[in-house]
């Protein structure tokens, strides 16, 4: 009986190590926002927006993000309208009931790349390109995961069948439907920064961290004040508690 238990234990250990979804843990990178009080590097996020608009936006939406919220990255209204104008969307029906295209403006949300879900799937070999608004929050250790994934395309090991997909050591199951999207010469940065694969990926991840958590900087700044206040209050209450209870001993 005991031998059987031990045998089950050992077999299960081996089974476990094989059944774990064959994905590497993301590489840890020190982003500007990684530390508890860190901030979003605005210049990097702006470059990341450029990477998104010029590369990712052809397949991936950002539907929870409004153009107006780009003020949080330091753009003014005119600049935002110019960014939005690169996107077209269906207008509301006009007086004749026709639906015409118009340029997106300040108050619109990021325009989706496809008319509908099925169109998105059909254009991408049956795989729906997920919306990126919350991508960093929707994955464990999201920022490092997205960064590692975008840098993690390699040739498949010999004998590994990737089917219709591509090999990526950070993807669960190691097969990803998206071909490698960034190579390093994909954008010409407006601020003169020299583009490289790692530069583009870091900028994009900074931008996507902001789209996932536009509250991040406000939250951390407010948190610091709240914790400071509560810390003082706790001391004041503790001292009052000691003072009031000291009367009991007499």
């Amino acid at each position: 009986m005991h031998i059987l238990t031990i045998a089950i234990f050992l077999v299960s250990l081996i089974f476990n190590s094989y059944s774990a979804d064959k994905a590497l843990k993301p590489e840890q990178y020190p982003f500007s926002f990684s530390k508890p009080l860190g901030k979003i590097d605005k210049n990097s996020a702006q470059r990341g927006l450029q990477v998104y608009v010029e590369v990712c936006a052809s397949c991936h939406g950002l539907k929870h993000v409004a153009y107006r919220s780009l003020e949080g990255l330091g753009y003014n209204k005119d600049q935002i309208n110019r960014i939005a104008a690169q996107f077209q969307l269906n207008d509301l029906p006009n007086d004749e009931g026709e639906i015409l295209k118009r340029n997106a403006i300040f108050s619109d949300y990021f325009v989706e790349p496809y008319e509908n879900y099925n169109a998105a799937k059909a254009a991408n070999n049956g795989a729906y390109p997920p919306d990126l608004s919350l991508m960093v929050k929707a994955r464990k250790d999201g920022a490092n995961y997205v960064r590692s994934l975008l840098l993690g395309y390699t040739d498949a090991p010999e004998g590994f069948d990737v089917g219709e997909g591509y090999y990526n050591k950070y993807m669960a199951g190691n097969v990803i439907a998206m071909p490698q999207p960034l190579y390093g010469d994909d954008v010409e940065y407006k601020d003169g920064t020299k583009a490289s694969l790692e530069q583009e990926v870091n900028d994009l991840v900074t931008f996507l961290t902001w789209t996932s958590m536009p509250d991040l900087e406000n939250r951390r700044a407010a948190g610091l004040k709240v914790i400071f206040f509560l810390f003082i209050m706790t001391i004041v209450f503790y001292l009052s508690y000691r003072k009031i209870w000291s009367e009991l001993k007499n």
């Binding site: 476990n16 059944s19 929050k137 994955r139 509250d215 706790t234 209450f237």
Partner: protein
């Protein structure tokens, strides 16, 4: 009757003569005689009440912006997070408030287990507490469904499917719960209604819990009854200030999580919109359900698992009679004290295996831990009361040292 006089002056007296709210508060929150030796573990009752209020207040605000429809629920949460003024703060408080409510209540329950607070004459007080726990679990489960993320949807699917294990009528009951043939819009909207309703039922049961508490007063670390006025002190200012200190300390930790790690206790998959065609690799409930989830999965039979899971809570109703020892506090029960810590460790192990996939060694661990959970209540405690030799009890709360 009001203990203030008819001819005394002042607005409060005028009110109190007609509606004795002032004397009620004075009786039950100011003068209320409380054992003088309560330790910090007695802070958690008022903390639980505080977190209930936080959940209700933030919940009501969230409900003003939330849309309970499968097409809009996920988006309306993002609307709250991005467009509503301080919406992110309200939602993060509500999300983490649920977790802290459970942390505080679990500590409160284990306090009761250690000091024998469930023993006569506090059996009904204990029962009301378990009813609060059950209502909390139902509320929290349905609340987790509302954002309509992947874990919302699949968690709801797994848990509602448990009812299909009931023989003969199981499938009918499940469809009745769903309001259809799968978890869908009718399920979401009824969960929203119930999620809004149940907290107010909890408030009602909390009031009964407090009435029962104040009938015989708080238990205390020595577990002996008050012998006279020298054993108690008025609730105010002694315990109001102690509770305020505890509250302030707890809030510091709470807000550290809310502001600096708001998603730490959640699951990343719930930021992916619900997709009925795509099952997540591992469906896990919120952390506070993990021990029960582990018990559910430890039993190879579906119906058996469901029965075991519910029994894990219902056995608590029997606890006042399963524990046959007359001595309340573990301080004077050398063996029970050890069993208490083993039991606590057992529940933590259950929580840990509950978060792991149900395969290999985890199944074995969960079966051993589940067995021990029930052995503790059904075998060890009834026997222990008969054989354990407890240490001598002190004579009174006021003079415990002179008891020897």
């Amino acid at each position: 009757m009001s203990n203030l006089k008819k001819n005394e002056r002042g607005i409060l007296n005028w009110i109190d003569y007609r509606l004795p709210v002032i004397s009620f508060l004075k009786h039950s929150a100011v003068d209320y005689p409380t054992p003088r030796n309560l330790n910090y573990w007695w802070n958690f009752g008022s903390l639980a009440g505080f977190f209930l209020l936080v959940q209700i207040i933030t919940g009501v605000i969230l409900s003003m912006h939330y849309t309970a429809h499968v097409d809009h629920a996920f988006n309306s949460i993002e609307h709250i997070m991005r467009n509503v003024n301080h919406g992110w703060l309200i939602r993060y408080i509500h999300m983490n408030g649920a977790s802290f409510f459970f942390i505080v209540v679990y500590i409160h329950i284990f306090r009761g287990l250690y000091y024998g607070s469930y023993k006569a004459p506090r059996e009904l007080l204990w029962w009301l507490g378990i009813i609060i726990l059950l209502l909390m679990m139902a509320t929290a489960f349905m609340g987790y469904v509302l954002p309509w993320g992947q874990m919302s949807f699949w968690g709801a699917t797994v848990i509602t499917n448990l009812f299909s294990a009931i023989p003969l009528i199981g499938d009918n009951i499940t469809q009745w719960l769903w309001g259809g043939y799968s978890v869908d819009n009718p399920t979401l909207s009824r969960f929203y209604t119930l999620h809004f309703l149940l907290p107010f039922l909890i408030v009602g049961v909390v009031i009964l819990h407090i009435v029962a508490l104040h009938t015989h007063g708080s238990n205390n670390p020595l577990g002996i009854d008050k012998k006279g006025p020298q054993d108690s002190i008025p609730f105010h200012p002694f315990y109001t200030i102690k509770d305020l200190f505890g509250l302030s300390f707890a809030l510091t930790i709470f807000f550290a999580v809310v502001f600096f790690a708001p998603d730490f206790l959640g699951h990343p998959d719930n930021y992916i919109p619900a997709d009925p065609l795509k099952t997540p690799a591992h469906i896990v409930p919120e952390w506070y359900f993990l021990p029960f989830y582990a018990i559910l999965r430890a039993i190879p039979d579906k119906l058996g698992g469901v029965i075991a899971m519910f029994s894990a809570i219902f056995v608590l109703f029997l606890l006042p009679w399963l524990d046959t020892s007359k001595v309340r506090s573990a301080t004077f029960r050398p063996i029970y004290k050890i069993l208490f810590w083993i039991f606590l460790l057992d529940t933590i192990i259950l929580g840990w295996v509950g978060s792991k996939p149900a395969e290999g060694i985890y199944i074995i661990i969960s079966r051993i831990a589940t067995s021990y959970y029930f052995v503790h209540f059904l075998i060890l405690l009834p026997l222990l009361g008969k054989f354990e030799k407890s240490r001598p009890l002190p004579e009174s709360i006021g003079k415990p040292v002179l008891a020897e």
